[in-house]
């Protein structure tokens, strides 16, 4: 029988939540790496027992972990992230040049074809790749050396490369997103990059339609239609039908279009999920009601999903990497909150229940669908 494994990164460790295909009874394992911040844990699509985890603290910096048995045991691997060539400068919050400095790994994206190959999105924004299971890391320098690099600026959470999407139909195509530089695409396996931000509108910029500088929070793709991308920007939910060459707003009737997380139904490429957050100064749901919004029309028309979610006095946030879908016949949807809850729906969002309620603040949620 199929089963699922939910990989949860929190401010104080990682947790593995497991259930059979019914997704009713859960086993909780953890905390792994107790006391450390776990920004992300993700499994290889080629070998689901191969997991990678990003572990860090302000005291001791970055550590990378690898598991070969689905998270039962872990081993530290390489944590040496050295920018290629002269590191150079980007802009600081005040607009002055600031040296590129490695701080942490935000996101891990294992290769679609090789369990030993994994990409890492880091702060200060850059993309690294390991081809030896995380032992050594090499920067894909073409991204940071894009001519706009010296003009990139950090968002409120730091200048992080937080989204990496690999195109299953074209292994040379990679999408990344950086706060607050915007979205970029490579069509040659990461050698060269182009910004893909046409159509984005960011009123906080001197030129709201500038080529770079947009605070993209997250991009999602359905693997069957890799040219269709959905984006949760700082404000605005956006859609592209041409692999990012152009974007149009699909916020439609959302009560607020600020937010962080966005994802696509596993079997319905036009069904999209977001969690609206009140504003950039108030990072919690509108009216204290935790609502996932679903569009079955690829955007613009949204419906609130509330059954099983708190509808009063709820002031948590759902961070950009904290939502995931499984690929069981009835698509499961999962998200974690800064209040330590991980909510699951086994019916595409119609009904929700909390798997756990009292974890440390959740930074990331991934799910593996296991045979």
């Amino acid at each position: 029988m199929s089963s699922v494994r939910v990989l949860v990164g929190t401010r104080k460790g990682a947790f593995v939540l497991s259930a059979d295909g019914k997704r009713e009874r859960w086993e909780v394992s953890g905390p792994h790496f107790a006391g450390w911040e776990i920004f992300h844990v993700k499994g290889s699509p080629v070998d689901p027992n191969r997991l990678y985890a990003s572990q860090s603290t302000g005291w001791h910096g970055q550590v990378m972990q690898r598991s070969n048995d689905g998270g039962q045991t872990w081993e530290p691997v390489g944590n040496k992230f050295i920018y290629g060539g002269v590191a150079g400068t980007h802009q600081w919050y005040d607009g002055t040049p600031h040296p590129w400095e490695f701080k942490r790994v935000w996101h891990l994206e294992p290769s679609l074809t090789d369990p030993d190959t994994v990409y890492a999105g880091v702060e200060d924004a850059a993309l690294f790749r390991s081809d030896d299971g995380g032992t050594t890391w090499q920067e894909l320098c073409g991204l940071r050396r894009h001519g706009s690099g010296p003009r990139w600026q950090p968002g409120g959470g730091g200048m992080c490369l937080h989204t990496i999407l690999l195109d299953p139909s074209n292994l040379n195509r990679i999408f990344v997103a950086i706060s607050a530089a915007g979205a970029f695409r490579s069509d040659d396996g990461g050698e060269t990059w182009q910004p893909i931000n046409r159509g984005l509108n960011s009123p906080f910029l001197p030129d709201p339609k500038a080529e770079i500088g947009h605070c993209v929070h997250r991009i999602a793709m359905h693997p069957s239609r890799p040219d269709v991308l959905f984006m949760q920007k700082h404000w605005d939910v956006m859609r592209s039908d041409d692999a990012g060459d152009s974007w149009r707003e699909v916020s439609g009737d959302l009560p607020t279009d600020f937010g962080f997380a966005i994802d696509v139904h596993a079997h319905e490429p036009e069904t999209v999920y977001v969690v609206p957050i009140k504003s950039d100064s108030e990072h919690y749901p509108l009216d204290g009601k935790l609502r996932v919004y679903r569009s079955r029309t690829g955007g613009n028309e949204w419906e609130p999903l509330t059954n099983g979610l708190p509808q009063s006095d709820c002031y948590v946030n759902v961070l950009r990497d904290a939502m995931a879908v499984d690929s069981l016949d009835s698509c499961g949807l999962y998200f974690g909150t800064t209040g330590g809850q991980v909510y699951a729906s086994a019916d595409a969002g119609d009904h929700w229940s909390a798997i756990v309620r009292d974890l440390p603040a959740v930074l990331s949620v991934e799910v593996q669908t296991l045979a």
């Binding site: 790496f33 107790a34 006391g35 302000g58 005291w59 001791h60 550590v63 944590n79 040496k80």
Partner: protein, 101 residues
């Protein structure tokens, strides 16, 4: 034999006891002790000092013999009681906290 006391996070990472004992070749300095520590526990590389610059991480402190040695040169000889093993070198996570932002 030099004794080094590790903070809790690094004990669990290295799967080591609170106090580790190291053979240190040549003069006993911060650098030679950390070199020996990282040789024994490679997973600690980068957690105490920067991989490239070798500068101490901002929230890591080195105490011994009731002195704060954090700002000493990494090539300065450590106090004799540390070199002899009579006193441990304490690696301490600064109580100021671990978050820069």
């Amino acid at each position: 034999m030099v004794r080094v006391v590790l903070p809790a996070h690094l004990r669990t990472l290295a799967r080591a006891e609170a106090e580790v004992r190291l053979e240190v070749e040549g003069q006993v300095t911060q650098r030679s002790v950390l070199d020996a520590l990282e040789a024994r526990y490679p997973m600690l590389s980068g957690t105490l000092r920067d991989h490239v610059t070798q500068k101490r991480r901002a929230f890591v402190r080195f105490f011994a013999c009731e002195q704060d040695l954090s700002h000493e040169s990494p090539d300065e000889p450590l106090p004799l009681p540390v070199a002899s093993g009579a006193e441990p070198l304490l690696v301490v996570g600064a109580i100021a906290g671990g978050r820069i932002s």
